[in-house]
């Protein structure tokens, strides 16, 4: 798996390949590339410096056995050290008391309100909880409406009392939760600067009154070097229990994750990875390390797929594919499932070597997928099972029905045939996605 590195880094590492041992000279290029990669990922300068020195020291002490490849050993070291920095273990939510109170804080525009909705949705879906959202952003115009809209679309209750004093709102919300048996209370607060003493005092007041189980800092993954001031500012005032990293569905590397953990020891608990309200996942240090090193995220894809397709379904599909009985009907089902996985670009980007294959910037026109769907849907169920009966007149009818051209129908049929051939070839247990 170690060949899945970012381009420049893998080039630099080639120098070590075939060497009998690791010396300061042969890792110099690699160390420089790692330093650049981390700085370009917005990892804090101090952290980068420490990290690079640390890796260098350890690398020089590596015992390269006869059968081992030093380049692989080196990359494993880099990755392990990164994971170490990121916290090596998954940090779940604390639940000390009933109801559990979660308070979200952060700068303006970091995504608190959306994250509050996602968190509520996550708790209900994955842990069968009954969360209550509490609107405490009394400053930004329409912030309360925004949370109410989100609550409405999720069918999750939102407690609001307009622009009342926030501690009073929280007090009433706790009463309300008691009456309505809500087991989780998620408090959405207004965005504020960590240096705004008045507004920070307001957060402290909520904290002293409600004693939340978790005070979570919502932080934008695109943040640069200033992140450390923000994290320290909030942490000093509120003793954060965790962080939620948002907007990871952008093409930012999110090096801020490294700085957070290393400089403050505050664990990252969740990441926001899509604009949809189910776009919240647990934070896995290993995946983050791979993202920063450009190594792809196969685990992430597997998990997304599992959410949509059950194991038995997948096995049935496999059998069909291998026996050559896979038909256009199955193809249509798969297409719809893929659509549910979210934007294809996101998935492609999670593939190892995505950058190398140029997939990180691939643009897929969702319309094209819609065209394919339209063409298949214009066939009769019998035609979908036996595409070989499709001759000129049938094709013309399908083209007309789907609003596409006969050429497009032909192209689709050809591609489908080729795909079937590929599937048969993959019989020998070497499972790969045909897409």
């Amino acid at each position: 798996m170690f060949e899945y590195m970012g381009d420049r880094l893998s080039k630099a590492i080639k120098n070590i390949r075939g060497m009998g041992k690791i010396t300061e000279e042969n890792i110099n290029d690699a160390m420089r590339e790692i330093r650049m990669a981390l700085l370009e990922a917005d990892v804090n300068y101090q952290v980068v410096k420490e990290f690079v020195n640390n890796v260098k020291e350890k690398a020089l002490g590596l015992d390269v056995g006869k059968n081992l490849k030093p380049d692989e050993l080196f990359i494993k070291l880099v990755k392990d050290e990164l994971i170490n920095l990121l916290g090596s273990e998954v940090a779940p939510l604390e639940t000390k008391k009933y109801p559990t109170i979660l308070m979200l804080v952060g700068l303006q525009g970091s995504g608190k309100t959306t994250t509050a909705g996602k968190l509520a949705n996550y708790l209900r879906k994955k842990e069968s909880k009954h969360p209550l959202l509490v609107a405490c952003d009394i400053y930004r115009p329409a912030a309360i409406e925004q949370l109410k809209d989100i609550g409405k679309s999720l069918n999750i209750p939102v407690f609001e009392e307009g622009k009342k004093e926030v501690v009073a709102i929280v007090k009433d919300a706790l009463e309300y939760a008691k009456e309505n048996k809500n087991d989780y209370i998620i408090i959405d607060t207004a965005g504020r600067l960590h240096i705004d003493e008045n507004l920070m005092a307001e957060l402290k007041n909520i904290q002293e009154f409600a004693h939340p189980d978790e005070v979570l800092l919502v932080i934008d993954a695109m943040m640069g070097q200033d992140a450390i001031h923000v994290i320290e500012g909030f942490n000093n005032a509120l003793h954060l229990t965790g962080c939620i990293l948002t907007k990871l569905d952008g093409n930012t590397k999110g090096g801020v994750a490294l700085s957070v953990r290393h400089l403050t020891n505050v664990p990252i608990k969740f990441v926001g990875d899509s604009e949809k309200l189910d776009g919240l996942s647990m934070f896995y240090p290993e995946r983050m390390a791979e993202r920063i090193l450009d190594m792809g995220d196969i685990m992430g894809i597997a998990e997304k797929v599992e959410d949509i397709i059950s194991e038995t379904e997948a096995k049935d599909q496999m059998k069909k594919m291998q026996s050559g009985k896979y038909d256009l009907e199955d193809f249509l089902t798969n297409l719809k499932q893929i659509k549910k996985l979210g934007p294809l670009e996101t998935l492609l980007k999670m593939l190892p070597q995505a950058r190398k294959m140029g997939l990180n910037n691939v643009q897929i026109d969702p319309k094209q997928m819609a065209h394919v769907e339209a063409i298949i849907q214009s066939m009769t169920p019998y035609e979908r099972k036996h595409p070989e009966i499709l001759k000129a007149t049938r094709k013309q009818r399908i083209a007309k029905g789907s609003g596409r051209s006969v050429e497009e129908v032909n192209r689709l049929l050809n591609q489908f045939e080729q795909m079937k051939k590929m599937m048969k070839m993959m019989q020998n247990g070497n499972m790969k996605m045909p897409f």
């Binding site: 525009g109 329409a142 240096i195 640069g224 569905d249 952008g250 969702p366």
Partner: protein
């Protein structure tokens, strides 16, 4: 030493009231930013009286911490090293002046930069606001609307962020507060909203139309295509429009800022940047890298939450704000 002398002149000639006012706001807004940066630069000067490798390394650290951009910093460091060598500089105090000077050169890059808004010769001037999520597009429109209302313009806001919950209501409230005209409706096609809105703007003889768009991460193809479509619709109703397309960037943004600028520029003709949230501790140095790599200048900066806290960007004041205590 162009800039440095100018800065010194500005400081000594404080009777120029307009200049002074601008400087004071910059001064206040960038206070936190500057405190950090300058005290570090000064410390550096105390720690190292002679220019040596360690000094360079710490200077590099300082610039990277200001988010100026890794490649830009490395290039900048090369330029500094070259000048140190060719001018035989050994004194760090002298070098500090050169650092400010080179930063200025880096930004200006021999171009004549216009920070003015390009107004339509007749009919409504259309300003399209774009950017990733949460950078402050809606709030910036409010501040701009306030500014131009004060100057006696007839202002209108169009809410084309039909995606985010509460976005239309948020802009509408700002329209009420700034007494601007407003058009928008939720859950519809943003291009449709723009079409209807601009028709009204023409009928009402509005001077200035601000179009608020949904936050979009630059790698989302669909949303970027939507932006393309909006642009076409705007041009159809008002030829030559949008007259300005402003990319809003959060001052806390790191290296991704460059990618943001590049991607948005590919889709739509970005005419300037609005750098928001400079009242925190973030230095917003990424705009220097953006100017160098993508060639888009900053037009406005946000220095606080008040309506009057949006200022026309002035590179000299900006650098002055960063370095005042040092001079």
């Amino acid at each position: 030493m162009g800039l440095f002398d100018k800065l010194k002149k500005i400081i000594s000639k404080k009777e120029e009231t307009t200049a002074k006012e601008t400087l004071e706001t910059y001064d206040k807004g960038l206070e936190k930013t500057r405190d950090e940066f300058v005290s570090k630069l000064n410390l550096l000067g105390i720690k190292y009286t002679k220019v040596n490798e360690e000094y360079f390394e710490e200077l590099e650290n300082l610039l990277i911490m200001a988010d100026i951009g890794v490649n830009t910093v490395f290039k900048f460091m090369d330029a500094i090293r070259a000048r140190v060598k060719s001018e035989s500089i050994t004194d760090t105090a002298e070098l500090q002046e050169i650092i400010v000077d080179e930063l200025f050169i880096l930004y200006v890059n021999n171009e004549s930069l216009s920070d003015k808004i390009n107004f339509a010769s007749s009919g409504p001037t259309v300003i399209l606001m774009v950017g990733v999520n949460g950078v402050g597009k809606t709030t910036t429109i409010a501040k701009l609307a306030y500014k131009y209302k004060q100057e006696g313009k007839k202002v209108m806001m169009i809410a084309a962020d039909t995606f985010r919950a509460g976005a239309v209501a948020q802009l509408e409230e700002w329209a009420t507060r700034t007494e601007s005209l407003f058009y928008g409706s939720e859950n519809t096609d943003p291009s449709g909203v723009i079409y209807d809105g601009l028709e009204i703007a023409k009928k009402e003889n509005v001077d200035l139309v601000f179009i608020d768009t949904a936050g979009r991460l630059q790698n989302k193809v669909n949303l970027m295509k939507e932006l393309e479509k909006m642009n076409r619709v705007i041009g159809k109703i008002i030829p030559d429009a949008p007259h300005e397309t402003l990319l809003v960037i959060d001052a806390t943004t790191g290296q991704n800022g460059i990618v943001q600028a590049e991607s948005f520029k590919e889709i739509t003709k970005i005419t300037g940047i609005v750098l928001t949230k400079l009242d925190g501790t973030a230095k917003g140095g990424i705009v220097l890298a953006i100017k160098e790599n993508v060639g888009i200048p900053v037009k406005f900066i946000g220095l606080g939450e008040k309506m009057t806290d949006l200022k026309v960007f002035d590179i000299e004041s900006y650098i002055y704000g960063l370095f005042k205590d040092m001079i």
